[in-house]
């Protein structure tokens, strides 16, 4: 099934929103406006959007330290996210969480996570819940190529197979965990999902820089999992355009590596090319989206700057629902 024009425009809008959100963050962080540790998702947009465009708010996802893209793709409010990263009480988490801990259960976004590998078991629990509810909903754990070496990820995969839970393990292989190369740290030296396969799971592999490929692969994955056939894993080959964290000098990159990636592996460029060449969308329509998106991000930043700041009394709020 082809995507409708509206759906295509929506997908593009989502990808562009993630990109614009992050590039603006990159600038603001350089200016020193933003506190804390921030990891940019830039370059991987086609994965988050290609996965989440299949989901509704009752499907659940669990994210990572590099979570902005997943949050936006799943429907978190972009202004609320920006305010959160700015530390305002109007942020999605009231300024308590920041970049690494954005969540919005109302849209099925159960939480970003600062602990590598911690999300997968949580996603399996959410999948158990979905199974119990019997509405064909799924739960997705996003993980990196680094996270696939964490024991928790393996335990989660086995647990999902054993309980036949509708969990999907999406591995975004951007070939780096911090400053270390995938080929060094991942013992198999070829891929990640062969591990998932060894747990008895059905697996897929696809190019994560091509939205259409991600989207179509996920259609198959979701058909399998929603059909009650147990968990699945999929590995997307993708690229990270900025440093591991903001401030990373990226000395582990080869000469010209980043230039090549920007030229050849930019999922937004690739989307535009494919969509316009096939006459699905017109360049100026896409430019129109770009403008709207940039305006939204401007507004998000302006609102964030003006948003109320927390007070010392806020520290003790929301530890418990009720303690005594």
């Amino acid at each position: 099934m082809q995507l409708s024009r509206d759906a295509l425009l929506q997908a593009y809008r989502q990808m562009r929103t993630i990109r614009a959100f992050e590039e603006r963050l990159h600038d603001e962080i350089m200016k020193g406006e933003i506190a804390g540790f921030t990891h940019l998702y830039c370059g991987q947009e086609a994965v988050a959007v290609g996965v989440c465009e299949h989901l509704d708010h009752e499907d659940m996802i669990v994210s990572t330290h590099r979570g902005h893209g997943h949050c936006i793709a799943k429907g978190c409010d972009v202004v609320g996210m920006m305010k959160e990263i700015w530390g305002s009480t109007e942020g999605l988490c009231n300024g308590k969480g920041g970049s690494m801990h954005i969540a919005d259960k109302d849209v099925g976004m159960l939480g970003a996570n600062g602990i590598v590998g911690a999300g997968a078991p949580i996603a399996v629990g959410a999948a158990m819940s979905a199974k119990l509810d019997g509405k064909g909903k799924v739960s997705i754990a996003f993980s990196g190529d680094g996270a696939c070496n964490q024991g928790t990820t393996f335990e989660a995969m086995n647990m999902a197979v054993v309980t036949n839970a509708p969990a999907i393990f999406v591995f975004e292989n951007n070939k780096y965990s911090e400053h270390t190369g995938f080929e060094y740290a991942v013992g198999t030296n070829n891929d990640i999902v062969s591990r998932a396969e060894a747990f008895g799971m059905k697996v897929w592999r696809a190019d994560g820089c091509d939205f259409f490929e991600v989207y179509e692969t996920m259609r198959d994955v979701l058909e399998h999992v929603r059909g009650g056939n147990g968990p699945a894993a999929v590995e997307f080959d993708t690229e990270r355009f900025y440093g591991h964290f903001e401030g990373d000098p990226q000395r582990y990159r080869g000469e010209g590596e980043l230039d090549r990636l920007w030229a050849e592996r930019d999922c937004i460029k690739i989307f535009r090319q494919r969509a316009t060449e096939a006459s699905l969308l017109k360049s100026d329509e896409l430019d129109g989206v770009d403008e709207e998106v940039l305006a939204l991000i401007d507004k998000a930043v302006d609102d964030s700057r003006a948003a109320p700041r927390p007070t010392p009394e806020d520290v003790q709020r929301d530890v418990y629902i009720d303690y005594f």
Binding site: M60, C93, H101, V124, M128, E155, V319, I321
Partner: protein, 336 residues
């Protein structure tokens, strides 16, 4: 009132709460037992016998037998809770928080706060703790001191079958994550348990002996020892308040301070060593907030700063005992 074992109070509460609320789900290793065997499911019903009959009644999606993967067990409980269920996970031995601590400490205990109060995580993590079976250094530990220091968690330590029912029911219905610590040596202890609905709110200590000379604070297995000490002291005309804290987070600080205001003397008994432990916490609390009432230095009766040894003689020497508590009471009475 029915009479039942501590262990059975756990089991019956699970049956009752799972019947009452279909969002209650249990998970853990060998919780069913016999999965994937010729003997078939329900071969054991939990190694403590605290899940017998659940599988037959509630089926495999609500009674989830898991592989040996504690991190995934607690993590799954977290995910179930975020998704709207009320999971009760069993860790078998409290010592296994070692392999699952991240999910307890950094995940379920922090979701609510990190997410600005917009999520809730009504998960209960049950585990059997404590020494007394010569199970050595990795199967005998008390962990309430570590877990009570983790903001976001509630920590419960029932010492009687009645409190198991009241506190466990509360734990399951509570909307915050709760660590429920069952003492291995109490599973076989019998006691009266109120019929029908019985809830014990958290943060309310139980006065199990009353006296005006010394305040003894204890939890779990230590409560019985404190009572034994108090009873033998009573014969000598020395009266002790024995306060069973029931929950260490929240802690009923008021009850402790009120009692010490009367007695002026404090003995804290704990099954974990003193360093950064509960005994020192309670002593300091009293020293900070009831300084003027104190007639003598607080006394702590705790094991030494060592792992838990195997041999019978060593484990007995390691643990607090009624005699050691009596000695501490006498020390505080004889001070100066």
């Amino acid at each position: 009132m029915a009479t039942m074992l501590y262990r059975d109070a756990v089991l019956q509460t699970l049956h009752a709460e799972m019947e009452r609320d279909e969002s209650v789900v249990v998970l853990g290793e060998d919780l069913v037992g016999g999965m994937g065997t010729a003997g078939g499911p329900e071969a054991i019903g939990g190694i403590w016998g605290t899940s017998v009959g659940l599988f037959d009644k509630f089926g495999k999606d609500r009674v989830i037998d898991t592989p040996i993967s504690e991190c995934a067990i607690v993590g799954a409980a977290g995910g179930l809770a975020l998704a709207g269920k009320r999971p009760v996970a069993e860790l078998m031995f409290a010592d296994f928080i070692g392999v699952s601590l991240d999910q307890i400490w950094n995940q379920i205990g922090k979701f609510r706060y990190m997410f600005g109060g917009k999520s809730k995580c009504p998960a209960v993590i049950r585990m059997a703790y404590g020494a007394g079976f010569n199970a050595a250094a990795q199967h005998s530990q008390s962990v309430h001191q570590m877990l009570s220091g983790m903001p976001g968690l509630k920590v419960v330590m029932p010492s009687t079958p009645a409190d198991v029912k009241g506190l466990f029911t509360q734990a399951i219905r509570d909307d915050d994550p709760v660590i429920f610590l069952e003492h291995k040596a109490l599973y076989g202890v019998e006691g009266e348990v109120p019929d029908g609905e019985h809830l014990v709110p958290f943060g309310h200590a139980r006065l199990s002996r009353a006296g005006e000379d010394v305040t003894i604070v204890a939890t779990g297995m230590m409560v019985g020892m404190a009572e034994a000490a108090a009873d033998s002291l009573a014969e000598e005309g020395i009266g002790c308040d024995v306060l069973d804290l029931r929950t260490t987070s929240p802690m009923d600080e008021e009850a402790i301070l009120d009692s010490v205001e009367v007695t002026g003397r404090l003995v804290v008994v704990d099954e974990a060593p003193a360093r950064c432990g509960l005994a020192r916490d309670v002593s300091a609390l009293v020293s900070e907030l009831a300084f003027a009432s104190l007639k003598a230095p607080p006394q702590a009766v705790t094991p030494p700063h060592t792992p838990i040894p195997f041999a019978r003689e060593l484990e007995s020497a390691y643990l607090p005992s009624p005699d050691k508590i009596v000695a501490a009471v006498q020390k505080t009475l004889n001070w100066r």
